[in-house]
């Protein structure tokens, strides 16, 4: 009996830890494609990029943890194939490995850009990416960041905090428009502008000219932005290519049932950014690229595999996302948002604020919260209990 985990990012590591916590005492083997320290990703666009911490302060799994949890860790192994008949995984070095239970946690990578890669052009996904970007910024914090999603906006905030005046470019009309709403997006647009970030919204990128830290980014409206560093924040795509001939159902991720089990095969689970897990509530399979989701799924399958879930039903978790920019801490609870919304406070005026959305039946659907711990706790409890949104709104107005 061995449980084999493919991937050493948050989902894979937390699954190993959770299995041990649930009392699983047989072999756990973890394969990772990267070598070196096993690090966590959220800080790479923030504290690590600003030079406030180094990788030693950002470990997901230390050497001592590997020992104390008795994990068989094998780094520098990139999985290239899966055979669910013989229950084997093949690696890029030609090695083949047999599993009893397989946990696929290969995550996601930066979306392939349209532009040819060049010195001074950076993605930000891995520790290596973050080191490269930091080196590139040593000569100055000027940068053009393409894509104002969460990571792009965090990088812009980090550079502005260090005194830089980065450009932040996006075809949409507000930063983080896919993740926020227009109200909170406006809060963040105004804050970025006030901090010296040069927003270029409603703007596409036509071409990137130049090379070797000497670029001109040409926007669709004709503007030319000169810069030494380009950061690409274009989103992520799941690492599923190695599963192409496995027979697993692949559709924007590994499609699983409600228990994170790959459809149609036995003893194969998928969790984290790579997994598209069936949600009984919405009836759809959902792929989520967030840290807490990966941790929740890791804990869930550990209980499922060890039988300690006591028949607790399929995976269900209220989405929780956060982003730290400047001294604003944003936290988003839930993902059900209708037309109606309630705005309580504002971070610029009251130092804190929240926007609460009811679901279609008036229960809690979603909160977007800035700098307000009590609102966060109350929203997460309301989400778990299915509290009417108006009760939450009244309570928040009371304590604003």
């Amino acid at each position: 009996m061995n449980i084999t985990i493919i991937g050493t990012s948050v989902a894979g590591v937390k699954a190993a830890q959770a299995l041990r916590a649930q009392g699983y005492d047989q072999q756990i083997t973890i394969f990772g494609s990267e070598t070196g320290p096993i690090y966590d990703k959220p800080a790479l666009s923030k504290e690590f990029l600003r030079g406030e911490i180094e990788v030693e302060g950002n470990l997901l799994l230390s050497d001592e943890d590997v020992c104390s949890l008795d994990l068989d860790l094998r780094q520098g192994h990139r999985a290239v194939g899966l055979d669910t008949e013989s229950r084997t995984v093949t690696f890029d070095n030609g090695e083949t490995w047999g599993y009893t239970i397989l946990i696929i946690a290969t995550g996601a990578r930066s979306r392939t850009p349209l532009w040819e890669p060049r010195e001074g052009m950076h993605e930000l996904r891995t520790l290596e990416d973050a080191h490269g970007l930091r080196r590139s910024l040593e000569s100055g914090d000027d940068a053009v960041i393409i894509g104002a999603g969460f990571i792009g906006s965090e990088v812009a905030a980090s550079l502005a905090t260090r005194g830089g005046r980065p450009y932040l470019v996006d075809p949409l009309s507000l930063p983080m428009q896919r993740g926020l709403d227009d109200h909170t997006g406006t809060w963040y647009r105004d804050r970025h502008e006030a901090e010296g970030v040069r927003l270029r919204l409603n703007a596409g990128v036509d071409v990137i000219r130049g090379t070797d830290n000497d670029f001109e980014v040409v926007l669709s409206d004709g503007q030319i932005l000169p810069t030494s560093t380009v950061v690409l924040g274009l989103g992520a795509q799941p690492n599923v290519e190695w599963l192409a001939s496995s027979g697993l159902t692949i559709d924007d991720g590994v499609v699983t049932d409600g228990y994170c089990q790959a459809i149609g095969v036995e003893n194969v689970y998928a969790i984290g950014d790579v997994a598209r897990v069936h949600s009984p509530k919405s009836g759809r399979a959902v792929r989520s690229e967030h840290w807490t989701n990966a941790v929740d799924q890791a804990g869930f399958i550990a209980r499922h595999i060890t039988g300690t879930d006591r028949g607790g039903g399929p995976f269900a978790s209220v989405p929780y996302v956060w982003s730290d920019q400047f001294d604003w801490k944003m936290q988003i609870v839930g993902d059900v948002a209708g037309e109606q919304r309630h705005v309580i406070g504002s971070p610029a005026q009251h130092r804190r604020g929240a926007v609460v959305y009811p679901d279609s039946e008036g229960r809690f659907g979603r909160s977007i919260i800035v700098n307000w711990p009590r609102a966060l706790i109350m929203s997460r409890k309301a989400a778990a209990a299915g509290t009417p949104a108006r009760e939450l709104v009244a309570a928040l107005e009371e304590i604003l």
Binding site: A21, W291, V295, Y320, K329, P373, L376, R380
Partner: protein
Amino acid sequence: MSDEEQVSYKIKADVPSCEGYANCVVAAPEYFDLDDDSGLVVVLQDDVSPDQKAHVENAIRSCPVAALRLDTIRE
């Protein structure tokens, strides 16, 4: 471990490391809360019995900044 040995567990919180994500509160609300003003973790009870160990470890593991740990106490 002998049968006579009593093992219990104690929660240790590194409060300055806490950034108020509240994952611990959601996972184990009977052990953790956030302070209203500071937004930082408050441990409501730090003694953990063996049958609650996995439950509390689940909460500790969910901390994005690793501000929590569970110490083993042997008496």
